[in-house]
Amino acid sequence: MSKGNSSGDGGHFDKARRNFLRGLGIGTAAAVAQPAWGGQTFQDTFADFFQKDYRRMSAEEIEAALERIERKAQDRYDVEIDCQNTPPQPGVVYGYAINISRCKGYRDCVHACVKENNLGRDSQMQYIRVLQLDQGDFNLEHSDHYYEPETVPVEGKHYLPVQCMQCDDPPCVKACPVEATWMEPDGIVVVDYDWCIGCRYCMAACPYWARHFNWTDPEIPAEEMNTNTHYLGNRPRPRGVVEKCHFCIHRTRKGQQPACMEACPTGSRIFGNLLDPDSAIRYVLANKQVFRLKEDLGTEPKFWYFSD
């Protein structure tokens, strides 16, 4: 990516602009250097305002941003969280496969996800939806994700969990006007919640209804807050930004299972490294009849379904 080169023509204007910005910069530096005026909250607000896109921040700036996030969480939820910036592992691209003949529609994954990712308990937002369909029917328009029978599985129905497919050619990324969302080297499509302007173009572009807009400040009881967080993942988000499943980036980058996979009591969820020929996901792709949703759109989802 090019780094904002100034063109030769607008030299005078550019110089004036640069001086103005430099002045602002000194002002910011003064504000950060002197804790005497304004207090910590004021400084944090000031620094937040001038925070850059995640991909343009230096290591120190990210470190400062993480500390601000931790302080804000302390203020807002009265919880001491640990916000990290775990980098992607080299030689790893994550993929997911779900065995739909094993999924019974318990929704354990949905609720584990809500808890793990600090989703507002009041905000009606859930990253995973488990669709209930008639057996033999694969028209997603006939699906029902509000099913609430006494017991599942219901006779004559099958279940299809959907979440972010982590497309390899993601249309949401192309739609974003401010480049607040992108694909990480390990294949996870992430959102910089501080850079997102909440225009929701990406939601319109996503063919899987996988992106969600948070209309309210997430309300989370302090004791249920997950303190293991990641800048691009499950840190407490502001209101008015778009969120989505991020393959539990704070867990998977440390070699743990995503929360939905760990919670699944049936073992229908298989997650792993697509580049490792010995991984479970590669075994599934090689040995099972797999398919992807809306494959004809060419977005190359890294999310497969199979039955056996």
């Binding site: 328009e141 599942v152 299972q257 760990e262 010995d278 599934v284």
Partner: protein, 200 residues
């Protein structure tokens, strides 16, 4: 039918394994033992013996007379065997001589913690999937030490089908909206008006 095929395969294996001179001797060869699938990562199995209520079995069976006769059992082992739809019974998997172990179809002793070796005797496809991670569950991590839950951790060996249970709560409907179900999108009025529009 399948046993005939198995027998045939066994003979072919024998013919391959035994050198020409040895084939003349009437001694029956040792059957091949299952030694895992090549290419599968090594793993540990979550032990389950401590959770078994009656284990070790010999605490009673040392003092009881053993009988191989197929019969109705009573307490504490009521005849609740739903597995195999009547085709198998206790001694298909349990060892009559050594009560503290299970046995494979070949009669090899199998520890209760290695129960998957018994299950795999019939359910070979599932067993292979389980070895490679496509069936069952791995404990905790994604990288590093691989620990798997045993078959019997999730399936009751005497009644292996998973029972239906209540789902977790459904997602709430956004405030101000009402839940509508079973909408036929293709028959929605918006399409009718579209058709009328096209006719005009």
């Amino acid at each position: 039918m399948s046993s005939r095929i198995l027998l045939g395969m066994g003979w072919i294996i024998c013919l391959i394994l035994i050198p020409a001179e040895a084939q003349e001797t009437p001694e029956s060869p040792q059957p091949l033992r299952f030694e895992g699938y090549p290419g599968a990562h090594e793993f540990d199995v979550v032990p389950r013996k401590d959770e078994l209520f009656f284990y070790p079995c010999t605490q009673c069976h040392d003092f009881l007379e053993s009988s191989a006769e197929i019969r109705e059992l009573n307490a504490p082992h009521d005849s609740d065997l739903e597995h195999g739809r009547g085709r198998i019974w206790c001694l298909s998997c349990h060892d009559l001589e050594n009560r503290n172990t299970l046995r494979t179809l070949l009669g090899e002793p199998v520890d209760f913690d290695e129960a998957h070796l018994v299950c795999g005797g019939c359910h070979a496809n599932r067993h292979k999937d389980w070895y490679f991670g496509a069936h069952g569950k791995r404990v905790g991590n994604l990288q590093g030490e691989r620990t798997l839950y045993n078959c019997t951790h999730c399936h009751n060996a005497h009644n292996p089908a998973i029972k239906a249970r209540a789902p977790k709560p459904a997602p709430p409907v956004r405030s101000g909206l009402e839940l509508e179900r079973g909408i036929e999108h293709e028959k929605s009025s918006i399409w009718d008006s579209q058709e009328e529009h096209e006719e005009q």
